[in-house]
């Protein structure tokens, strides 16, 4: 009963997201000064540390929302559940009604897309500033 309701709720949310207009991919020109600073700070070695400053958290949450907005609803769901909420592949499969292989593929694709989007941003920033951000 609980699984059935969860699946209905998940599918309803996915349909709502699917019908909403897709936002364009995250590009450097859209970034605010705070977001650029945040990215530079993390890329220069602070990425491993969990920031505690409230302002930093707000910037990160906004940046994350924009990064995830570039993904399809299904990919976004898989990535948020597995990487963000530490859900297992089987949990996501049970909630969505997808096969475990499909969940894995969606998560892999979403991870790759998010990484590539950030990679582009970092590459452009490095080209623009001429700084080497390697860890």
């Amino acid at each position: 009963m609980e699984g059935w309701l969860t699946r209905i709720a998940t599918n309803t949310c996915l349909n709502l997201i699917r019908t909403a207009s897709r936002r364009p991919e995250l590009v450097t020109a859209e970034l605010s000064e705070d977001e650029t600073d945040w990215l530079e700070k993390k890329a220069s070695g602070g990425a491993g540390s969990h920031h505690s400053d409230v302002e930093d958290r707000v910037v990160a949450a906004d940046l994350a929302a924009r990064l995830l907005a570039g993904l399809s609803p299904e990919d976004r769901l898989a990535l948020t559940m597995i990487d963000g909420e530490q859900a297992s592949v089987s949990d996501v499969a049970e909630m969505t009604g997808w096969s475990e292989s499909k969940v894995k593929v969606r998560a892999f694709r979403a991870r790759k897309k998010a990484r590539q989007a950030l990679e582009k941003l970092l590459g452009r920033k490095r080209e623009a500033s001429g700084t080497d951000f390697s860890l």
Partner: protein, 163 residues
Amino acid sequence: MRDNHITEILDSKPFASLSETELATMRAHVASCASCSRAYDAAQISALLIKERADEAAQKSLDANPFFQTRVMAAWRERRETNVSALRRLWNSTGALVTTMAATTAALAVLAFVAPSSETINQPTAALVPYSAESVVLDQSDNDQVTDDQVLSAIYSDDDEGR
């Protein structure tokens, strides 16, 4: 490892779940591979952003849900009601037995403590009451007792009559 780029490993599982061995291998590779170095940084930041997003969503769901307290209170009441009805069911099934046992225990207590004490109280009462049966009998016997003078006069009067 130089030709084995790490992007496949980065995309195959959450960054936070990568083992120390995998991380060490990747760090060794990114030291000599510029493209993988950028991919490694991006994956690290991406994982951090997604985790931050999840944390914020969790915090928001706790802080901003106006029905949170209502739901918690409803769950608490339901739980309490379940406990009460369980006690009631227990009483319904064993109430008659418990009542009978209590009544029996009370009756035994009355018989053990009240009845023997009433018997012991009667004995001294009989001795102390001035008009008890014993005292009446004793008094009567005292009254019937013949004095020495009466005995002597009766003997001698018989002798005198014989002479």
